[in-house]
Subunit: 350 residues, 2 copies
């Protein structure tokens, strides 16, 4: 049992250098440093013990040498520094911040390490409901949940009876969007990259239909088969060829809620979308969005999903790996679709 | 002077056959038929004498052999039939329709010919204000005006002080959007394809800045020069490389109102847009639209623009050619940017 003021060893996942192409395990390495478990005098930082860390496709974005995006407030990784998580669940050990005290559980941006001194506390949210598995705050009750909620209710906003398509549908966000769609009376089809994922979508998550995109040599034909009446709302997590096929199958006045393009992140040269003119022909509405623009809705979101989770009307599939040392492989696995549901790394269970 | 019931000769521009690539003059030919100037018994058609015909880029769209778009209600041209105008100004000679009577002036879809029996009367609107040049109902008070109005006020909706970019800015729609932007206190830059057009934008239409895109080998650099603070709202009439450059220069939460892609219509294989991921990074909003979805706003639109036209706060530049026989060349010229302002063909002046 550690105590405030102790100097302890701190296992860390270090980001080695900027990534070109797909991230590899060797882009990160493990090291062990030390940390004093105390917030410096006159600081409003928070010192936490990390419990659960989220693996998210967006982390690849922060690993690239990218300039010109500073206006958006993104924090890119620095080579030689600890990898940061978007997001993690942590326990406060010491706090100089009036809103957090020792013993509090929080979720927000933290480090891929055992203990983190969090100086940028803006993203920290105190966890109020602990009857729910704590790991859920890396997913359904965290960034993925907020992304799905904002995407479904604020951006795509499908109405009862509308035809909804979700790509990467068994992923952290997709599985929730599909379930929201069913709860709201939509017809929903999802695509994923393996038979097991397709079974998950149809049998556990309640999608009306699902297909394995890797087995479809003609995505346009596949979408025509699943959407003979075309698509009202598409939730875009993939990009590239999938987006082209979707554009051909959208309805007039269709909406595309865009929060990811995982097929494109690792390409040196992204695929060109050649039929964007469909947006013109069909008066399509495309909107890029991020959960970050909707945090003011977090309480409303909790009011909606907590009862659903407790009543088991909403299920959440996690792929949990144990130990910080499993982190790099788990993160890299996202880009080949190795994960089965939301990818979580357990650093410690309490 | 012709009379109702006369059988008269009727010069016509016939659409020869489906167009592949750019339209050519030879895709149309002139012929002279005859027409009886009388609406058939028990018909609610309208027989009109055509006065002014509009040349619009969208006509190329109707010349292509395109299937699968019938749901949108478009009427494609039929080889061997008269070319139809979107739109024209005509004088009613005879009418079986309760809303129109002989002597009325109307605008709507008519034929590229001297006289037309209009059976699909849904698009006809009676002209109430004749103190304005009648040709304006092919443009500023017709489809182009409604497109610009809907695009500016309903889709892009730039606010005072925002940075607005308009491509094809001296065209039928662009010149109006730029002027609306100035009337609403925006900063507006336009691009066009010749020095004369750039001068027009800056000196007569009141754009803050304008440039000749043909002289810019790096469109991204050009936009960075004209928009050091990036673009809030882009009015898209061009597509392709221009759209790619714009995406790099959009602000977060920027909006793109898309009503044309003239650079792409004539390509066998459209250019791919490789940086659509910017929509994701910057939470951009893209909306395809058509004037057709906003016709209920036509009275509101007239209330806004008629006083502006009368007070000369809004100017409209037309490129008027005389005679039906000049029509094919005028239409084809749109795709090389030969026109200077809104392209109109005069069939008869009254």
């Amino acid at each position: 049992m550690v105590r405030v003021g102790d100097e302890v060893s701190n296992k860390q996942v270090i980001f080695r250098d900027y990534v070109i192409g797909s991230p590899k395990e060797s882009d990160m390495y493990l090291t062990t440093g030390t940390i004093k478990l105390k917030v410096p005098e006159n600081s409003n930082a928070v010192l936490v013990k990390n419990l659960y860390l989220s693996c998210d496709p967006v982390m690849h974005f922060f690993m690239r040498k990218t300039t010109g995006l500073s206006k958006s407030g993104y924090i890119f990784y620095t080579p030689g520094s600890v990898t940061s998580s978007r997001y993690g669940v942590s326990k406060v050990l010491d706090s100089g911040h009036p809103e957090f005290k020792a013993g509090d559980l929080v979720w927000g941006i933290t480090g891929w390490e055992e203990y983190t001194l969090i100086t940028k506390t803006e993203t920290l949210i105190k966890i109020q409901h602990t009857d729910i598995p704590l790991s859920y705050y890396t997913g359904i009750l965290g960034m993925a949940g907020m992304t799905a909620y904002a995407g479904f209710y604020e951006v795509g906003a499908p109405k009862k009876g509308e035809y909804v398509y979700v790509s990467a549908a068994s992923g952290a966000v997709g599985q929730l969007i599909g379930q929201f769609a069913k709860l709201e009376g939509c017809y929903v089809v999802g695509s994923a990259g393996s038979k097991e994922k397709v079974d998950l979508l149809k049998n556990r998550l309640g999608f009306d239909e699902a297909f394995n995109y890797k087995e479809e040599h003609d995505l346009n034909a596949a979408l025509k088969r699943y959407f003979p009446e075309s698509i009202d709302v598409y939730f875009e997590h993939v990009g590239g060829k999938m987006l082209e096929a979707v554009l051909l199958n959208m309805r007039h006045h269709g909406r595309i809620a865009m929060c990811g393009m995982i097929s494109q992140y690792n390409l040196d040269e992204p695929e060109g979308i050649k039929n964007l003119i469909q947006v013109l022909y069909k008066w399509i509405h495309i909107k890029g969005y991020t959960h970050r623009n909707y945090y003011h809705l977090y309480p409303k979101f909790l009011d909606l999903v907590l009862p659903y989770i407790r009543e088991k009307k909403l299920v959440y599939v996690e792929d949990i790996v144990e130990g910080l040392e499993s982190g790099p492989a788990a993160l890299v696995g996202l880009f080949s679709g190795r994960n089965f549901g939301k990818q979580v790394v357990v650093v410690a269970r309490e």
